[in-house]
Symmetry: C2
Subunit: 524 residues, 2 copies
């Protein structure tokens, strides 16, 4: 009996195993079949998809441009509705609306819910730096030559140039196309999807927290998919489980109240550019080590799983440095990097560096240089900084430490423009204006929902790198810390997209693959 029973059980197990394998294979086949239909659809309708995306890119998308930013929201809402997604605009005073979409799956109530985040606003532009106007989308081939849309359709290495082409209208455009493709294939999502598209991410998402808290009930989900940021520099897909936080700082140091001849007054009238250079120099060194006392105190150490994930990342520093013409090489360091005590810029591997906080000078403006240089002591000098934060740093504590440090250097800190009396009372006067920013976040790399999302992407693209933290900032903390929901970053755009700079672009192959990825996720 015992032997018979054992044999029967073994047979049963084998049968069950066969059945399971067959089911997986069938699902796989079904999935593959859907994906090949999606690819077929986007090949056949490529011109139409690009034309529709270019229309979205043509709407100016600065968060502060009240009328136009609303036009973006309304256009996206209309597109979602046309694809059967129930939508509403979440409004708050003096902020762009959030486009919220809801698409119930065939599995009905109780099924897993994923909510997809993207933002439809773009970075500010310096139009003079652009080869073509930022909101007039232009297609260019790999050599940078303008080409018509009809040619771009046939060349996946061609790109579309426009503000927000990559950051961050691309996932919105790809999702819309994926919904079309699935409808054409007659396939509906099984699980429940929500869409959450905000319009002031590049302005620091100042109203996002309030919106999330106000609409907490509408935003219940098993995970947020954060569709922002680029794929890996190897052009390999990656997912990320965290993002650095950010806080921005505008600094103004004051000189004489009118410009002075540098011959008659130079080395007598305080030079605000020299003062500001000296202050910045005291804040960080040439190797990106931040010299503000206690700045690194709260940095959360990496877990062993995170360290191992970093080890699995390919070493791209050599290729990147060649591409970017960066000559700095690895510097020996003890303790081993990543560590606040080690040189960072160019000295340790990029995926390690972004586990550390950063002080980036994003601008310094005082007087003029080159042909416009004037022999003058200027009245003010301005610098702009973005701090990138890691778990468990808080923007508030960082802001406090920076202000304390600056005061410790003999400065009087003000937050508004000083009047003559204030200027006359303080020999070293600095105005600090903070963008509030937000903290970093990190989610568990091993949760079931994370593994399922990764499996769907792998179905669409082969394999996926897993990054503990993205270098860039997205307000993931709102999902992980406020809503207590895991968040997984699913980027689709090329890394060399000039995002946040002039001539931002999207490589079309990334767009096409992005459509496949969203189709795979929507049909998981």
């Amino acid at each position: 009996m015992r032997g018979c029973c054992y044999i029967a059980l073994a047979m049963l197990a084998r049968i069950l195993c066969w059945l399971a394998l067959a089911a997986t294979a069938m699902a796989q086949t079904a999935g593959d079949s859907v994906l090949s239909q999606v690819r077929q659809y986007r090949n056949t309708h490529a011109a139409e998809i690009l034309r529709s995306y270019a229309e979205l890119l043509a709407i100016p998308d600065l968060a502060t441009d009240t009328a136009n930013i609303r036009r973006n929201a309304e256009a996206i809402q209309a597109q979602l509705q046309a694809r059967g997604v129930a939508t509403r605009l979440l409004e708050a005073p003096d902020s762009p609306p959030i486009v919220l979409g809801d698409l119930k799956g065939a599995a009905g109530a109780g099924a897993r819910t994923l909510i997809i985040y993207a933002h439809y606003d773009g970075q500010p532009v310096d139009a003079a730096q652009w080869k073509s106007p930022p909101w007039q989308p232009v297609f260019r081939d790999e050599q940078g030559r303008d080409i018509p849309l009809e040619q771009a359709v046939r060349d996946p290495e061609s790109r579309v140039y426009a503000r927000a082409a990559s950051d961050d209208k691309a996932p919105i455009g790809a999702i819309l196309a994926a919904l079309d493709a699935l409808r054409a294939a007659g396939v509906a999502p099984r699980i429940h999807f929500k869409f959450f598209f905000e319009g002031e991410e590049e302005a620091g998402s100042p109203h996002l927290r309030a919106a999330i808290e106000s609409y907490r009930d509408l935003l219940k989900a098993d995970a947020w998919l954060i569709c922002d940021g680029p794929v890996h520099q190897t052009r390999h897909m990656q997912v990320y489980f965290g993002a650095r936080g950010v806080t921005g700082l505008e600094m103004t140091v004051y000189g004489p109240q009118r410009p002075l001849h540098s011959g008659h007054y130079g080395n007598w009238a305080p030079n605000p550019a020299a003062m500001l250079a000296n202050l910045l120099s005291a804040m960080r060194d040439d190797d990106a080590r931040i010299r503000i006392p206690h700045f690194y105190d709260e940095v959360r150490p990496l877990t062993s799983a995170e360290r191992e994930a970093l080890q699995r990342m390919p070493d791209i520093d050599g290729q990147l440095k060649t591409e970017l013409q960066i000559a700095r090489t690895e510097a020996p360091c003890s303790p081993p990097a990543p560590s606040p005590a080690c040189p960072q810029e160019g000295a340790t591997r990029i995926e390690q560096n972004i586990m550390q906080p950063a002080l980036n000078i994003r601008g310094f403006e005082a007087g003029h240089t080159g042909a416009k240089a004037q022999n003058a002591v200027m009245t003010e000098a301005h610098a702009s900084i973005d701090f990138r934060l890691v778990p468990d740093q808080s923007p508030q504590r960082v802001q406090q430490r920076v202000e304390d440090f600056i005061r410790g250097r003999g400065y009087t800190v003000v937050h508004d423009a000083p009047d003559a009396a204030v200027r006359m009372a303080h020999p070293r006067l600095i105005r600090l204006e903070w963008e509030p920013g937000y903290p970093a976040a990190r989610s568990d790399m091993a949760s079931p929902v994370a593994r399922d999302v990764i499996a769907a992407i792998e179905r669409a693209t082969g394999s996926v790198y897993e990054m503990p933290t993205l270098g860039g900032s997205v307000p993931m903390y709102l999902f992980t810390d406020v809503l207590k929901t895991p968040a997984i970053g699913v980027p689709i755009v090329n890394h060399d997209n000039n995002q946040h700079a002039a001539n931002e672009n999207l490589r079309l192959r990334n767009f096409w693959e992005g459509i496949d990825i969203f189709a795979a996720i929507l049909t998981q």
Copy 2:
């Protein structure tokens, strides 16, 4: 006999003395009479004088604007010729012509010769910073309200706003009016005058030395009067016997070859703005002490006569600091200031500071600040410096010391834009572009020709401060060191003229008094 002779001699001496006094008194009276006629003339013809001056200011006057800068020279030449001055244009390839004028005096050959220097080009403009276009002269009252010329004529506190209104077309305009006034009074110069007006002083006078060497014979004189720079900040007339030298430096530090997202690449990609801030910080401190080794080694100590002249200058620091809203106060220092070891900016008196060399940051440009700030690591950072030099520093030695210092900080110095191979070969790469500049100069404060010029100015305006060195730079060394001729600075314009900055202006009272001064000098 002995007693009688003594008496006769004493009487003779007394008679001679009376005669001398009478001659002086007569000359004084004659001079005063001429000056009152000059004042009468400029009062009667004020509108005509201003209209003519405004026409000169309306000609754009950048040294690099080939066509317009020549229009200036030709207009000035025509004006001089119309007043009986023999003129010619001294030409050299690729440079604005020098307007040379010659006016023989009644005393004939062998009489003293004075040569008057001014420049007709202006500083570059940042038109966006100007309240009105830089080459459309506008009259404004003391409250800054636009007024018609007819009202400006009646208000000596009103000003004319235009590029070069003060620096340095003002003496040219005043000399032309003085010549008209003297002709109306029927008075001709006794001694020999030459006029030397150049057109590229604000570009560093790159061809002046060659011109002076080529035309050495035409330029023989007993002294040069350098008509550039402002009167004292108390609005009191001053003369100066020297000027600081100058050399300009454009610095470019290189980051990645394309702009990068500061989140994804911040603290990995070298930040050129941070590197440049650190470098500038190493070059000079907050108090204007230059930290480049041996920078002060050649500084010539002041003579006791120069120290005494400085002691006689009024203390204007308090008034200036209030006017300019500068709160820094005197810092105790041992050794006593002026000394390279002492704090300078705001800490010691201005007339002492300008006896020292200066490192003035006149511009720092990298990325953007404020509303245009972008979260990016920029590709390049630029700074622009002017060094002010004192006797016996040479621009060449200063340039060498600066380059050595920068190399000592680990930089590879290039002088042209680096290509990719150069960028890839050098982790710290800086481009340095020097404006050649020129050394400082100082003349003897006690020479007879200097005392006579001072006496003439005192006749026109009462009393005069005597400054060993002007803070600003004029190429006096060419006259003192190359031509071996004393040079005396005779400025007429207001100190608060925004020269080298936006909204440059000339206070009309300074213009009227300038006419008197030139009439007095021309009739000495």
